[in-house]
Point group: C2
Chain length 391, copies 2
Amino acid sequence: MKQSSLGNLVQPFHVMELVKAADTLNNQGKPVIHLSIGEPDFPMPKPVEQALAQAISEHKTRYTAALGLPELREAISLYYQTNFQVQVPAHQIVITSGASAALMYACLALINPTDKVLLTDPGYPCNKTFVQMAGGIPDFVQTQEAQNFQPSWADLYKQWTPHTAGVLLASPNNPTGTQLGAQAMQEIVQGVSTQGGFVIVDEIYQSLCYDRPAQSVLQVTGAPSEQIPVVVINSFSKYFGMTGLRLGWMVVPDTLLPAIERFAQNLSICPNTPAQWAALACFTPETLAICEERRLVFKVRRDFVVTALPKAGIELHSTPDSAFYVYAKSPYDSERYCRQLLEQALVCAVPGKDFSEFRGSEMMRFSYANSMDNLETAIERIRLFNNRQLP
Amino acid sequence: MKQSSLGNLVQPFHVMELVKAADTLNNQGKPVIHLSIGEPDFPMPKPVEQALAQAISEHKTRYTAALGLPELREAISLYYQTNFQVQVPAHQIVITSGASAALMYACLALINPTDKVLLTDPGYPCNKTFVQMAGGIPDFVQTQEAQNFQPSWADLYKQWTPHTAGVLLASPNNPTGTQLGAQAMQEIVQGVSTQGGFVIVDEIYQSLCYDRPAQSVLQVTGAPSEQIPVVVINSFSKYFGMTGLRLGWMVVPDTLLPAIERFAQNLSICPNTPAQWAALACFTPETLAICEERRLVFKVRRDFVVTALPKAGIELHSTPDSAFYVYAKSPYDSERYCRQLLEQALVCAVPGKDFSEFRGSEMMRFSYANSMDNLETAIERIRLFNNRQLP
Ligand SMILES: Cc1ncc(COP(=O)(O)O)c(C=O)c1O
Ligand SMILES: Cc1ncc(COP(=O)(O)O)c(C=O)c1O
């Protein structure tokens, strides 16, 4: 029995080693503070929790249609109209097991073996695996701090080759907490479509933004179509606080829908059923009010963190305006720094390696998905550590 | 934007057209009886439902480890020991989003592009897609009614080539409701391992068997290892009645574990969290008693159906002893027959096309995941239809 070459190729999350070390310290009674977390520190909004409990008591636990509950697809369509003033027909919305399954279907439906796909560096570590599983070759576009770590069409075009099939972007992005502007987005979609390529836009952190209203590429392009080669990825994980429920969605052109449906039928059967019923409660005024309140909590933390980190000796060149991450220069080699910060200051932050091929060892990610108390303590520990005032 | 060749290749479930027609009839007030269903007609066992509700109220809704809750992996290990007298270390058990994700990880970790993989015909329609998504080529082994639609090692060996990487079997199988005997299983594992190949055994219908105790290939081989190139697939969907919860598991050799973990991390993050906590309640005496009771209900239906169908004009050559399916000869072309049976007799059964490349048009599948009342009415309708006594 031989392992496949893809099995050898796919990368682990390097941070796991660090997280294991953090767990060991915790188990020794040493109170590690995690600035490493990729999910909100809030429970699900109460109305969603209640809807979930109700779905279960009503025995809504059997398979659904592969593309998801029609009611939920309708609700998301209405959400785009109400919150983003954009018309997306419900039939173009597909419910998936998290943004993860949506990224998988999109890559499988769009990438041929040996196709190159442009990915931003830094970016979400799993993106390269989705591309590779479809047989594609990740082609990293190095983005600049001065450009908020987002590419322009010129940056992408410079790397476009006859073998390039398309581009996968995230706005807001992980690990950077930065967005693409509407105009840059428009230029990218226009440029890529001239090349006959596709644009996958991961909007999983869409509504977690703090300095201007949430936006979608769909506001720029309208609903995807044969002429608008865009696939949008989204999720209930972050803004709606449903990470462990594994529920997301995608918006696809009509022409791609049959293939996406066949992948969904064959590879997953359907997304989790009670979660789908629960998600219907996400778009009620009550839930949206809770989520907005939480967004403001994140904003307060963001404001604190971007002020406090530089005072603690962590350089920031730009202000992250979205998600719950700060991507910053590490005082020295980030793997060594994060290891020592953990062991000596009991703060767990993430080295850049998982997010970046180019400058991973220079950079690191802080997550502010943690309480204000913990953030304050953690950053004070970082300050002391950086000033070598620790024992 | 061009769709990938895999997107073109992957097959839809042809039965969906028939199911849509059935829905239309139902909406017209015509009471179609479904013998087409691939999931139990029972709700989740009460203790599992309660455990699920409790997990939600305790806010167990965040991401878990990619390989699943350690507690659940332990519980399954104990289940193998208690119910199957086989030692499977918990760390070799991986929790997945249904058998579906388990099949996906197994195929991705074991199949290289252009590898041939032996699949039984008839078999579960999605198997070919899992093979194809890994770049492999499904190579169908035609099985015989006289051999309970299960292959011997001789059958597989006849089709083994230098490009064959392994074989994917299901016991009990869908659509046939038949099992592989322990000896045949042993010969297959031995034969395949001599060839340096792998054996994936899908045991999703494991405990739904009616004429002898439930069995596992692991009873024959012991836990998988470098020397025992077996991957076992299982699920909470069928015996435990948790289809919509999307939870399953796999048993893998140590050597394959790191690759499986990397796929799980990258492609799914983790399985549904509340479902994992709920599944812990599956292995309690209360739940197992409920599941056994249901198994006996299925047995009564099986006994009825295999007696009544031949009297209604549907030939059976063998007695299905597991799952909840009967695979039988269609009186004439199965697509036409199933269509007419639906329209004229309001019974929805499934043509063989989705399950078989070779003899799909000759064969059809009846599911007895329906109440005894409905089964009696449906088979009476079939009898009348076959006798052309309908208007
Ligand atoms: C940018 C980005 N995309 C996609 C995902 C996948 O999230 P999920 O599958 O929970 O929706 C994540 C999770 O951290 C992410 O950061
Ligand atoms: C033989 C077989 N394997 C796997 C599956 C997938 O089931 P699940 O993903 O719900 O565990 C099915 C579902 O019908 C099946 O019949």
